[in-house]
Symmetry: C2
Subunit: 252 residues, 2 copies
């Protein structure tokens, strides 16, 4: 792992890094050192590792819980090179959406293409992060990912035993039912009640399939992107409960 840039602001150290050709970012408390629980945050479709939905979770996880938090760019996004096949599939899906047609096999192909690279990338990143003094390999690991990062997240969590708690959701993908059934860790699962692209029946079918003894569905009114802010707070408490926290902040 190469650290390519480092800044400190508002009590948070931000380190940009690269694990071979995977660009990532690690946030840790600026004023402490030593191993700590780690949360990996996946970003949504068309976003990148420092997008608002990542940062809005990462910063409070660091400041309220003392966690390390990491994000990487998915293939074809952020600081990664163009990915011709992903670009072709996204353009095809955009055309189908504009024409009001169903996505058909293009959507599955897109997710398969992304996952074939992204899942091993996450695992290589986790290997590298656990060699850092500020993370270590003896601390629990969580994953947070919704929408496209929920799709890849179900695959990742099903495949990666180091991850012991996950916030997932906003996906309706029947092809993931088998992967969901292999998940046995605690899961907080988000559903937007009026998410037209992810019908609630399909989302709940995935929740139902999860093999976890502890799983909680949080359904809120509104469309795909309208997750209420109090769900960030809820995810903080979920991870604090399952990963512990490095400090004992006054806000918990």
């Amino acid at each position: 792992m190469r650290i390519t840039a480092e800044t400190v602001a508002d009590g948070i150290r931000e380190q940009l890094f690269a694990v071979s050709d995977i660009p990532g970012v690690l946030w840790t408390p600026a004023d402490s050192s030593g191993p700590r629980p780690l949360v990996l945050i996946g970003h949504g479709g068309g976003q990148h590792k420092r997008g608002w939905e990542v940062v809005s979770r990462a910063f409070p996880y660091v400041t309220a819980c003392g966690f390390a938090v990491a994000a990487i760019d998915a293939p074809g996004t952020g600081d990664r090179p163009e990915h011709p096949e992903i670009r072709r599939l996204v353009a095809l899906i955009d055309e189908q959406e504009a024409a009001g047609e169903p996505f058909g096999p293009a959507l599955t192909a897109l997710y398969e293409t992304v996952a074939a690279q992204l899942i091993p990338d996450w695992q290589a990143t986790l290997d590298a992060l656990q060699k850092l003094d500020s993370v270590g390999d003896s601390q629990p690991v969580g994953y947070y990912g919704l929408s496209a990062a929920g799709e890849s997240g179900i695959r990742l969590v099903a495949a990666e035993p180091r991850i012991t708690a996950a916030v997932l959701g906003l996906v309706a993908c029947d092809w993931l039912l088998d992967a969901a059934a292999r998940i046995t860790i605690p899961v907080e699962y988000l559903l937007q009640w009026d998410d037209e692209g992810n019908p609630r029946d399909s989302v709940m079918r995935l929740f139902d399939a999860l093999g976890s003894a502890e799983k909680t569905l949080h359904a809120n009114r509104g469309g795909h992107f309208r997750i209420p802010p109090f769900e960030i707070d809820s995810s903080i408490r979920f991870f604090a409960r399952h990963l512990g926290h490095a400090g004992v902040p006054s806000s918990l």
Copy 2:
């Protein structure tokens, strides 16, 4: 209102009271005075005002948020006299359950009979509580009630504008859809995923019917009575968000 007994333990003042013939209990912080937000807690079927599911919520609401919390016995329960019609209907329902038969009109009749007395009782109790210095009539009011207290709670919340936030759920009662649609306050709504007596589709139909702009469904694995303890914590934060809290405790 007559205060019939008062004790203090673990920082909580418990006052037993009667509002005409309605027996109730009020919990407030032992070490403070003056008006504060009030949470009314309804108890489940066959339980009473000081049952475990009431006390397990009431005590942390008082200690973590500084709220006043009140509960009353539903007709035919706790310190209230036997109610022959309720007793007859409960016996009939028990017989039907033992025989594996559907409850039919007896269940609706039971709920109607209870509600005809319980809703005005709650309103008279709220009138009396708001005259106390330790509650006052200028503070917000919440309601917490699941199962039978979710059934009556939907009726109460739909009828009582002084209640401005509610935790409801564990009920599948299609006859309440119109009442649910009249509810516009923030609601946290609980569903047990494997609750055989309250099929999830019916419970979600009620959630869907709620007219509230802010409504959150929390579904957890397990049967009717197996609500995970972290949902108590979630309800504390829900009420703190919507009712404010009298102090600023370190646990929030």
